[in-house]
Symmetry: none
DNA sequence: AATGAATGAGCCTTCATTCAT
DNA sequence: GATGAATGAAGGCTCATTCAT
């Protein structure tokens, strides 16, 4: 009994893993059920048997991705209650960069989400609710601490976008960067990039914070 | 006389325009020759007649896009020889944001390029050589002027990426942003965003420049 | 048990039979996958599923044809070890004529080979290696026995070609013959033709053999 | 005036020549109007303009071929009124072999006819009436002279077929021959082949003639 | 529960032909 | 008279899906 269940869950699980890889690499349209099945060492009908159709498989993959990522990378990864806002920001950036750039591990989770962000399907809402919303919320708190709790909302949003944009850029433009500057994103490089983005952002926020405080006073 | 030319070039031109829209919206794989032909009010065989095949049409669209964009938005758009580096940076950011975000005009050019950047085809090299290379080069000069002509190369690159990342973020994450913050990117909003990115970046660069100068002195 | 196998092999087999007919009648280019599928009572995608593509189906048909023909018509069909060379030659001619002309059975095998001989594809090598080579080899032995074991090689080849040519003519020119002489190739006619070719060839070979023996003596 | 006519007839003539080559090489189905037009340095619409459609062009090519061949190779080529039947037969065979095998000249005429014989179109009747009928008729006379004027009709026909078959074999099986025996058909080889066929046939006919005369006497 | 076979819609492309000048 | 553009039917093939076991 357990054997069959195991076999069955095994196939299901292998399909999700394989589909994750393939969807992340080729996109929803570019991925074929045949390739996914082959990568998962499963029958071609297995996808429809286990998930109904290709689209449902995609949602399942994304859902699986969300819970997996939420477990592995809590938003406050590596910070203690006593950490300064600067430390929190650095940890946030570092964590995001590693998730998005490190290709030494099977990181199709982040790459798949990047795809979903750029070209949303019906699953975007789930992604926002479970991952992106909390992520942006956490970053909002950190940025507010850096500026001032009474900071102008628009300014805070803009700062968040500036930080997120810097991080995601390295993923979205990775092909151009590697063609233009022959750069590969090994762990040390990622480490230095995260330091740069942290400094760049903190310098900027301090500057803007002063302006904001002034204008707020007026 | 004009009639024949017009008729003949007309179909070809209509195909390019239609293909631009469809490729930008659905990607190369997702786009179908049938839809493109229909949008262009052309026969389905017209694509093959004028361009040989779908791939060649795609290249032609991109090439057309390049020259069109290069004409409309020269890298130093709106600056005079006497402009300060800050003014140049602002102009650069503003121009980039408008190209990428303004949906009041048929802006498939920029959207198509964003696709090509995220998921390159064989045409990426052309795009880099004709557009992205010069763009990054121009920005490099401006950033160097802001920091110091002898600035550390890695620092300069990182700053460029930070600026580009902030701008492109609004395109790549537009769906998420509009869902999370119900923001639409009208002209005034874009104007304010560009001011923000300019200030954010200049504040940061000054900060980093001081650090860099110090370390250089050591 | 038998049911599943039967159903499954059935479609594949039906496709091969139907493709044989259609290829033999219309040639590789003239045949359409749609017509083959229809003749085989199969879905149009079945060809792709079972054989990959049209070309691979063609090879499979020809390969199937080879083994089928080799089983039914061994080169020494109907002769005993004690048969005289004349009897062997008659049996050879008779067998070849029946294979090529008898339209009372589905003889697309021979007609398909005739096509392949006249307008070869990449599959010609297989045909030569498995069928034509042995066939010509067997005929060579018989002709050598009729002339002399030390017969001039060129003479032997020429005699083989003369014999083969006489036989194949009735296939290649069948339309012209039936228009000019209103001849249909029923079994008795084929029987008489084979007798004619046998006599014609033996008379000729004896004549030439005498000449050859003389010149060899000189 | 003459210029335009010349130009016009020129195009028409070039189309026929080009179509002859292409039809002979690829067959009716395999040939494309585009390739023919290109080979003839003509516009793609020229075929339909001058001939109505592809099929009509084919007929025109064949008709042209007939008259051209009839002029160049009269059935009694190279024989005098005093020639013996043996000399006539040799001349006939030699002429046929050269027409069919000699690839040093543009001999698409014969190759096209060979195609038409193997896979007739509606134009076969013309071919038979104008070329093949007279050809077979001439050969009938020669063979009758060799046997006896009162020879059995069936025997005469069979002998004709045996002779024609030997000749055409070298064309129809040329690919197999060159693969099996690495033979190329240069002028000297053709010369020797025609001598062989002549001897082979005359030897055979004499033999059969004796038999026939005997049976006729009975 | 799980599979290999079968399906039909839809893809890009090629073709002979016709149209408008 | 002659041409380049445009047409639509049909080609081979791929795909996600369903069927029959």
């Amino acid at each position: 009994m357990e054997g069959t269940d195991k076999k069955c869950n095994d196939t299901r699980e292998r399909l999700i893993q394989a589909a994750g890889e393939v969807f992340a690499q080729r996109g929803f349209k570019g991925a074929t059920v045949r390739e996914i099945s082959r990568c998962a060492n499963a029958n071609i009908a297995a996808v429809n048997y286990h998930f109904g159709d290709k689209e449902e498989l995609y949602y399942e993959v994304l859902k699986n991705s969300l819970s997996s990522v939420m477990k592995k990378y809590p938003p406050d990864l590596g910070v203690t209650p006593e950490s300064t806002p600067e430390e929190r920001l650095h940890a946030f950036i570092r964590s995001l960069l590693f998730r998005v750039l490190d290709e030494s591990r099977p990181t199709w989770h982040a790459r798949l989400m990047a795809r979903e962000i750029a070209e949303p399907t019906a699953a975007l809402d789930q992604l926002i609710e479970n991952i992106l919303g909390p992520l942006y919320g956490y970053l909002t708190v950190v940025v507010k601490q850096l500026i001032s709790d009474e900071a102008n909302d628009e300014l805070v949003h803009n700062c968040i976008f500036s930080i997120m944009g810097q991080c995601l850029f390295y993923h979205n433009s990775r092909h151009v960067i590697s063609k233009l500057y022959h750069k590969k994103f090994g762990p040390e490089v990622i480490e230095r990039l995260s330091t740069h983005i942290m400094r760049f952002s903190i310098g900027a926020i301090r500057d803007l914070g002063i302006l904001d405080t002034k204008s707020a006073k007026v």
